[in-house]
Symmetry: C2
Subunit: 331 residues, 2 copies
Amino acid sequence: MAVTIYDVAALAGVSPATVSRVLNGSPVSPEKTRKVREAAQALRFTPSRTARTLRKGGSDVIALVIPDVENVFFTALARGVEDRAIAAGYSVVLCNTDERPDKEARYLDIAAAQQVAGVVLAAAGPGPDLDALRARGIAVVAVDRPLPDLGVDVVRLDDADASGRATECLYGRGYTRVACVTGFAGSPTAGLRAQGWRAVFESWCPGLDPDVYLRETDYRSAGGRRAAEELLALPEPPDAIFAANNMTGAGVLSHLAAVGRTPPWTGLAVLGDLPWPEWEARQVAVQPWPGRLLGVTAAEALLGRIRGDDAPPRSVILRSDSPAAPSPVGS
Amino acid sequence: MAVTIYDVAALAGVSPATVSRVLNGSPVSPEKTRKVREAAQALRFTPSRTARTLRKGGSDVIALVIPDVENVFFTALARGVEDRAIAAGYSVVLCNTDERPDKEARYLDIAAAQQVAGVVLAAAGPGPDLDALRARGIAVVAVDRPLPDLGVDVVRLDDADASGRATECLYGRGYTRVACVTGFAGSPTAGLRAQGWRAVFESWCPGLDPDVYLRETDYRSAGGRRAAEELLALPEPPDAIFAANNMTGAGVLSHLAAVGRTPPWTGLAVLGDLPWPEWEARQVAVQPWPGRLLGVTAAEALLGRIRGDDAPPRSVILRSDSPAAPSPVGS
DNA sequence: TTGTAAGCGTTATCAT
DNA sequence: ATGATAACGCTTACAA
């Protein structure tokens, strides 16, 4: 059916091996090279990556597995991974797990069975099964969400530190009681971020019970909205809120807008860029959460592993910069 | 290195063929089935999809090639394709072309060489090279952006009709001069959308030159902002703007906000959901642009082709509903 | 430099 | 029902 190197070889009057050599840049006489090129052209020959991968025991595709394509943080991450990987001659395919461990397991299986060169994984659950990948010697780098004790490289940001700084920033602007909306309880990052907030809260609001001002939700917009509603309905409501990721921050802001209490009436600090920067960021303290940088760094680590670096697993923790100053209010 | 069916066969005391049969549900005696299962389990065996694909001449992966992962329309589209494809037992990988024909060509090549089951393509350029795919008999469905004369199924929305309706809606609300911000000149959809607007403009504003009130930009936020700025600076500025996609609409809105002329001061209708619905949609007429539905429909068409439907290429044009009524202004 | 031939790990055919 | 065996399309020793 499809045209193979044998067809090309026949048309060019050479052996299949020679065709393969031309394709891969092994030394071949100029004349035969030309003939092969022409024949390939004429037959519109596309080499089968499947066969090549089978034979060579590996491909040049990197799988990037993320929990939410709709989150700008992960798309930025994707761009970072993509840029770095493409520069190194690899291609990147995205797999969206929708925060569901079952979908994640499926994609990891496919990646293993497909013999991808490597996997960058922003895990949906705490304990993904990496055995299939490991059995095939496929490199894995965990990104954003650490995978403790799974023996893989981890590239992430300093959740607790950044959260503390964002919270601090709100107190620094004169707010006196800063609540926290973090991710769901099972998520490691949610815990770390809450912890970063809690330390600052306790130092500025001694005597107050932090748990009253902490809400755990999914990392989605709807959860942020609900949490904001609850917090503002407290007998002693907070005058500012720290949102532990961009989507919940968006949700909080949405609720504030609905009740006419947008910043600076109620303070708001968010970890990560809002999906809608120019319009929203005005009075919101945005703590940088550099997805692209994370992606580039993760890709770098993965490429190192692919090239055979077999040092013990490393953990890279990037530091988030200080919150951006709010832009001046529009005319 | 990796464990193969031979290892499993040896451990189970059967032939490789039997192992394969167990894996694929061919009739095998219960006892041997059990033994094989146990052996596979014990060895943590993952069958090589590469070998299987090579042997069977096709895989069960569908490639979805989109120009912009950061656009909510395309992520919605992706979800539609994904849901439908997964339900049919396929997996979906996303390839982001970043609106660049060269990246697109690369991913199409990979898809062909990887022998994916099919491709859903939202094209970056007007004339992608589908020969490699065609040579391998891989089904392709064009989505959102038509590929004239390439002999593939097309699933898209009625650009001109929806644009006309969105424009009409603004006039219906009392605005008297509606400008248009569409996509870049090369894009087929940009032309169709401008055309839909133009017809309505000419009937409401006879004697005025439409070209004065038409701006072509990229389909990005920055372009929308710039276009809005230009339009409002006209000697006889429009009192409303129709934005031909969500990102440009976002840009327009951003500029309106910057100069304190958000709707309803200046009317705004947008084709497609804004990235930030709860917060922004208030006074904006949003013409539905159902990405998910489009994705589902495209996947459906593709699955049909994969299953062997070889009718002549079809063109499906879905109709967009009427603009959503603006939500009431917040308290 | 070039050709021959042996795999890579499956599945399908054909016997048994 | 099961086992041997030949593909699938490519790369790579090994020879020439």
